[in-house]
């Protein structure tokens, strides 16, 4: 790259700086988390849920389904269907340390793969729900929704932050 023309470096550094600012603005809009307490976020997500087919689960269910200990996280909200024929699920986890995000994401990957394996062949509409699962990582929050209204739930989660 030719950078020996007088002034070009000065112009380029400002251009790059503007791009950096735009990039940070995009990050803030699409990937940032928030400092809102978990209870407030969980409450707003719960209000958006259609609970006809979803039941609130405890830490034991998190351990059973995902192999994760709820005590390791700042907050966990898990809704799941009690019917063995349904894959519906909503999960919100706020991690304590950012490096836990990867563990949670890996656990979700495994869970979705296992569920797909279970439903494949005999409940194709549930496999479709699993394929269309909505996921999001926003700062220290990890979100998963497997439901016909998954997109709506994800929007409620994004809004709650």
């Amino acid at each position: 790259m030719r950078t020996d023309r007088p002034g070009i470096n000065q112009v380029m550094k400002y251009i790059v700086l503007v791009i950096i600012l735009l990039y940070i603005a995009l990050l803030m809009v699409y990937t940032s988390g928030s400092n809102r307490p978990f209870a407030e976020v969980a409450k707003e997500v719960e209000q958006a849920l259609d609970t006809a087919n979803l039941t609130k689960m405890d830490g034991q269910a998190l351990k059973r389904y995902y192999g994760l200990n709820s005590a390791d996280y700042e907050g966990v909200l898990l809704y799941s269907s009690e019917s063995a024929m349904s894959a519906e699920e909503v999960l919100v986890i706020k991690v304590k340390e950012n490096d836990q995000v990867q563990d949670v994401s890996d656990a979700i990957d495994e869970y979705l793969a296992e569920k797909k394996n279970e439903f494949e062949g005999y409940v194709p509409e549930e496999v479709k729900l699993l394929d269309d699962a909505q996921r999001s990582v926003r700062g220290n929050y990890v979100f998963l929704a497997v439901a016909p209204k998954a997109q709506e739930y994800k929007e409620a989660f994004n809004k709650s932050l």
Binding site: T3, N9, Q10, M12, V16, T31, G33, S34, N35, D99
Partner: protein, 470 residues
Amino acid sequence: MLFSSITFLFMFLPVTMAVYYIVPKKFRNIVMLFASIFFYAWGEPVYIILMLLSILLNYFCGQDVEAKKEDIGKARRSLIFTVTMNLLLLGFFKYYGFLMDSINAVIPVDIPYRELPLPIGISFYTFQALSYIVDVYWGNVKPQKNILYFALYISMFPQLIAGPIVRYVDIEEQLENRIVSGRKLGQGALYFIRGLAKKVIIANMVGQIFEEITAMQIGSFSVLTAWLGCISYALQIYFDFSGYSDMAVGLGKMFGFEFRRNFNYPYISRSITEFWRRWHISLSTWFREYVYIPLGGNRCSASRHILNLLIVWMLTGLWHGAAWNFFLWGVYYGVLLILEKYVWGAVLDRLPSVARHIYAMVLVLIGWVFFFSPSLGYAFEYLGMMFGIGASGFIDGQAVFLLYTHWLLYLLALIGCTALGMRIINRIIGAFVHVRVRMTAAVVVYIGMFFLSVAFLVTDTFNPFLYFRF
């Protein structure tokens, strides 16, 4: 991507090395650059853009500083702009949440804010970029004209994520001319395997003991268990970070680069001053060259010198993390260094070597409590337990059990903290008279260490590098 991961060891590294050694010499930097970008993007698919933009910004700023050299005022303004932008970027990603939390803690209302996760390695690559820009301004180096070479300097995968912090002045020549040889490849492989073994066999195992102890409720364990927890952390962080640094130095050698060592047996130190000459040498050197000396160093009045030390150590503490415990950890060392310089340094020098060693280690261990604690409150409670306040007795079954079941690990770790460890390995290999037998012995010992490390990796999921979070 972790060095100590199967993906890195058996896919990324062999493929990168094969391509690097096959292509003509003039393409090697490009191979290395693309490998480095891939390596970073593997773990940070979003923040790779930030790193590339940071490279571009610093590249153009470096050229701009050089172009304005004839007008010192303009050059200085260009330098200040670059340093400010780098520090603002680092500050935004690393300290913004901390600042907002601190403000929220003292004002009656909670200001809501958005937070972004910390981009991995940002502290390391920002400091490398700053060293480059300042050295260009001082005239110690010429700005790098080739943007690919500059990008390689900032993003080089062996030291990108957790150091050592390589100063541009140390690597400028190597970016264009370096020796890649079978001998260096072999030496690098030995470094790498030693680092891997330090991390996987020792750091991860003592780390598990530390986790076990600190998972217990404060007040539910004894003084001895509290010390054991602290010693386990001290061993974990040393073997973790120095292991990573050894792997970085080794990988550098394998690709023809020479990085300076980052650790020199810090736990054999007999003073805090000596400890900081041996621990995280690249960071201490950076702060000395770019903060301490420009502030006036020790060539000034005693009060100014004390202020300089406190500034440097506050910054060193905050560099490690955006939290008050890191700040206090830095100030703690600043105060100790001032005391050694102005109060008890002369007395300390007259003490027997063993007493000086105990003095240094006790103070270092106390320092680690601030470092590993999630909050200041926890740090003081834990420290209290180490000195009997709130502990459940002096000794308990937990401590006895941990010592009984892990004595060999602790012994191995303590030997590994000294030069004795290397001497033992070299003695085993050197026991054979014939060169060929000796070489075979070396291969057997190191291959053994490598496969043992891989076996640990496969069976153990506990595998974080502590310095990734900085």
